[in-house]
């Protein structure tokens, strides 16, 4: 049983989706989906517990032939980078199901998207990663495009998705063919790809294709326009899973594949990528200054934070990469909380900038303030730990120029404050009374904020697990530790 624990973990939501599809009854749908998601969370916690931070390489590994003619295999496993992402996806799935309306189609689609995201995080094979990543996207397209008003958003996502996926698939194919040319058989395995001997020019083209593929998902400027539109059009439950299926899978891919598959090209191009990352972060910060709705600002804040993430990856330092992983986890937790809170505000008609929320709904206000402070990187919350490590790495790599990203932090803070100031303070007395936070809503948001707080107070518990995997990435990128094969 334990040999296939990871497969069970990945496929459980898919089985849940099949079960959910059997009966169109709200209680059945909700209970089945919540049960699956709850077991998923427990399984991920078990994986966390059994994970050995000191062991090298991937753990809970499984390998089966998938498409032998193409050299693709069902090769999965987790290390310190993918394990937190698995746990985060499971948690977001649980809370997303809790926040959804328990419609059969929506719930089944959420479960399928979660399967895709979980599979992508665990994949050790490029084609398998591609398969799972696309599998995570399709349900989101369908959910967003269900009604006429948001069909344009879905179309935009399709265009972006296609623009990103096509070069990614071509580049992966090229890697497999290169493997055939050099070794004698096709292979999409990650380790085989890392062992390829490619010229700098080829690496640069392939890196460009991968970067385009992931920059659409992360997103980086100018591929970002789908994000605000998605958060505006989708329900909080769909947005939660979209964060995991789009952003986190893209960010994970960028961290996992780009420096390790194309080490020379990445080392050559990382300065330009870092400039793009800082520009993205600052751009998000500037845009966030003039947003008047929580979810719009959240899209800008996400853009900013993804800039931080990419900067950490580009530093090619342990502190930067570990900081990026912590930041990604923190982003999931805090953005999740803010998305849910934004949904609650919208449901009450409180998202408009008339103000006065503090008077009417003090408990909701308290959580909104806490989540906003967490989102702008106040110490004690997990994002600060990630940002601080990335700053250290950026300064070590680029000197004073690396600190330019602090400009984004400042803008993001001011934008967040301006937003909550409009919503919370002021005279909204003339508006109708609305109900304050319900206990069921609190159950959705509070766990996310508690996790963010716990990891912020003790980030070392996560960093210790991430360290080994980050060292592996650095070794593969040719900048840290001993090269493979050396004694």
């Amino acid at each position: 049983m334990e040999d296939h624990l990871l497969s069970i973990c990945i496929l459980l939501p898919l089985m849940g989706a099949v079960l959910v599809a059997l009966r169109d009854q709200v209680t059945w749908v909700r209970n089945t989906a919540l049960g699956c998601a709850g077991i998923e969370v427990l399984l991920c916690l078990y994986l966390f517990w059994r994970f050995d931070p000191g062991a090298a390489g991937v753990q809970f590994s499984e390998r089966l032939a998938w498409i032998p003619e193409l050299g693709a295999s069902y090769h999965i496993g987790v290390d310190g980078i993918s394990l937190p992402m698995l746990a985060l996806t499971a948690l977001l799935l649980l809370l997303g199901i809790g926040a959804s309306r328990a419609e059969r189609g929506e719930t089944a689609a959420l479960l399928v998207a979660a399967t895709g995201a979980l599979g992508a995080f665990a994949s050790r094979d490029l084609l398998l990663f591609y398969f799972f990543a696309e599998m995570a996207l399709l349900p989101i397209f369908l959910l967003v495009g269900r009604n006429k008003a948001s069909s344009r958003v879905a179309l935009r996502m399709v265009l972006h998705g296609a623009a990103g996926s096509a070069p990614l698939l071509v580049a992966m194919g090229y890697l497999a063919i290169s493997h055939q040319n050099q070794v004698g058989h096709l292979s999409f395995d990650l380790l085989d790809g890392q062992a390829l001997d490619l010229s700098l020019g080829i690496q640069s083209w392939l890196l460009l294709a991968f970067l385009v593929g992931f920059a659409v998902r992360v997103p980086l400027v100018p591929f970002h326009t789908w994000l605000p539109a998605l958060l505006r059009a989708a329900s909080p439950a769909v947005s939660l899973l979209a964060i995991s299926a789009w952003l986190h899978v893209g960010a994970y891919g960028l961290l996992r594949f780009c420096p390790t598959l194309f080490p020379d090209a990445f080392a050559s191009w990382r300065d330009y990528l870092a400039i793009l990352a800082v520009a993205t972060a600052v751009y998000g910060g500037v845009l966030g200054l003039v947003q008047v709705e929580v979810r719009h600002w959240l899209a800008c804040a996400t853009l900013s934070q993804m800039g931080w993430f990419v900067l950490g990856v580009c530093s090619l330092r342990a502190a930067g990469l570990q900081g990026s992983v912590v930041l990604l986890v923190g982003h999931g937790l805090i953005t999740g909380a803010l998305l849910l809170l934004g949904g609650m505000l919208a449901e009450r008609g409180e998202e408009s900038p008339d103000g006065g929320l503090g008077h009417r709904n003090p408990r909701l206000t308290g959580l909104l303030l806490l989540a906003t402070l967490a989102a702008i990187g106040v110490p004690g919350m997990v994002l600060f730990a990630g940002e601080f490590l990335i700053l250290i790495a950026a300064f070590e790599t680029w000197g004073k120029s690396g600190l330019l990203i602090l400009l984004a932090a400042g803008l993001q803070g001011v934008g967040g404050l301006r937003l909550v100031q409009r919503v919370v303070w002021g005279g909204g007395e003339r508006r109708r009374e609305t109900e304050d936070l319900r206990w069921r809503e609190a159950l959705l948001v509070v766990p996310l904020l508690l996790c963010a707080l716990a990891l912020g107070l003790r980030p070392v518990s996560l960093l210790d697990r991430v360290a080994g995997a980050v060292d592996g990435v650095l070794v593969a990128a040719g900048v840290g530790g001993e090269q493979p094969g050396e004694e």
């Binding site: 265009l159 003039v290 342990a318 006065g356 106040v378 004690g380 601080f388 004073k400 005279g427």
Partner: protein, 587 residues
Amino acid sequence: MVGQAQIVALLVALCAPGLGGLMAFWQPWLALGGAGCAWVASAVLLQWALQGVESSLQLGRWLAVGQLDIGLDLRVDLVAAMLLFGVCSVGLAAQLHAADYLGDQRGRTLRLCSLVLAGSTLLLIADNYPLFYAGWALLSAGGHLLAGADYGRGGAAVGRTWIALRLGDLALLAGLVALCAGGQLGWATGEGGAAWIGLCLLLAVCVRSAQFPFHFWWTGPREEISFAAWILHGVCAGTAGLYAMLRTQPIWSADALVVYAALGTGMVTALCGAISSLAARDVRPALSYAMVSQLGLALAVVALDGRGAALHLVILGMGMGLLFMGITCLARAAGDDWELGTVGRLRRLLPLPYWAVLLGGLTVAGAPPLAGVWSYGVLLAPLLSLGGPGLWAGGCLLVFAVALCAMRLVFMVAAAEEGEKPQAFRTPGGGAQTALIGLGLLALIACALGYPPGVGYLEVQGGVLRWELLIGPGVSGLVGVLVAWLAFGEQVVAEEHKPGALRRFFAEGFYAEEVLQGALARPLLALARWVRDLDTFLCELALIEFGALSLRGAGWILGRLQSGQVRFYAALTLLGIVAALFYLTDI
């Protein structure tokens, strides 16, 4: 035994305010319990520190990557213990005062005061820069929320406080990241740093300790805040800024540019603050600018030698706390009348707050034999030894100015025409009178601090306590008191009198906020709107519409290719020939 007691005291000082604040969700008065426990712990820690015993505690690792290992390390030496005691004392008194006056706002204000106190405590007992920054940012968050404790008042004060403090936070973070990346995690011990690091730290200190032109976040909030609670944030923020300056002295002191910038900023702040305080007719800006002026003086002296600054900050906190809280009692009793000429009209009905105002004013003015004279003497001593008699005389002049503006308030309160007891009159506390307990606590400490603890502090610090150096500041303070008495002892400000443009200019803090808004905030917002519109145009219209149009065009061509129409093929062939001709003729 002492080791275990130290651990307990440190943990209580660290956790009590935060836990009290959390428990205040259940019962508001539990916040007072937390502040009280922290105060007792700080007194115990100060006692040990005066005996030369440092308290330290390591609570494990916090952030660790490779060689970067940042622990949850706490340490309290004499400077930290002194400041911790001052902050906890003002914190307890302010919470007692707030508990009495705030009605339905009480719970939230007490919780936020606890948050401010928790942030301040953390930064004072932190033993490394990242943990110090955590306390610093927590203090920012608490101060920002405290400025907006009353949700109904609008958020101008919240925005002003947050934006200014955030600017300082990021400057500090930039400096600290540079230090940490260089392997210097703990307090600086003697290595100089790059000038830009020193300037970053100085910017952070200037914003946090409300130096000109960043003073507006502290002096601006008037109606929006609980005024007595605001002194807590003022004391905590001023302490934090100057404590950062003290702790990083080895980094910036080697660079003359930073030293002169700090000295100049401090002196300008002291002078401008005093002028603005003297020009104000409302009690709240008058008091706030008096505080700013004091903080400027402290910064100027810390730029040269900060040994006496800790004691001065504590005594300043006590004195200003007495002034703030005493005047708040008088103003609230008079139905929220904050006009300088009339705020004291009920002083005979409220003798204890009135005496607190008098005691606070005299303490801040440095009138012998109260504690202020000691701290001014020690504070100004480095000006003589390092800057010469001219600079020392300049310092004495600033003491005169700050004494004058503090005592102006006192004499105007004393000289107000006595009024009838209004219908809305309420004594502090009604039944419990906890506000008076806070005032009494501060008064006792203000009187006592100048003697055994203060002198003991100086002896342990090795400060040069030359009696002749006390004469200059003492005389300056007394002259300030005398001039204030002569100028304002009999004067009652006419209510109908409209102040002139120059006076308004001074009273509004030289319009620094407006200048900064015009130079930075408005252009930035305009840029943000422009970028938003551009983003919409370029990405929404150009990218998406063009992409969709291209796809539709490609689809149309593909459709036509399958239509079998001769005209289309002919047109396509013609187009191909033209393109080939252009290519071949190299046009």
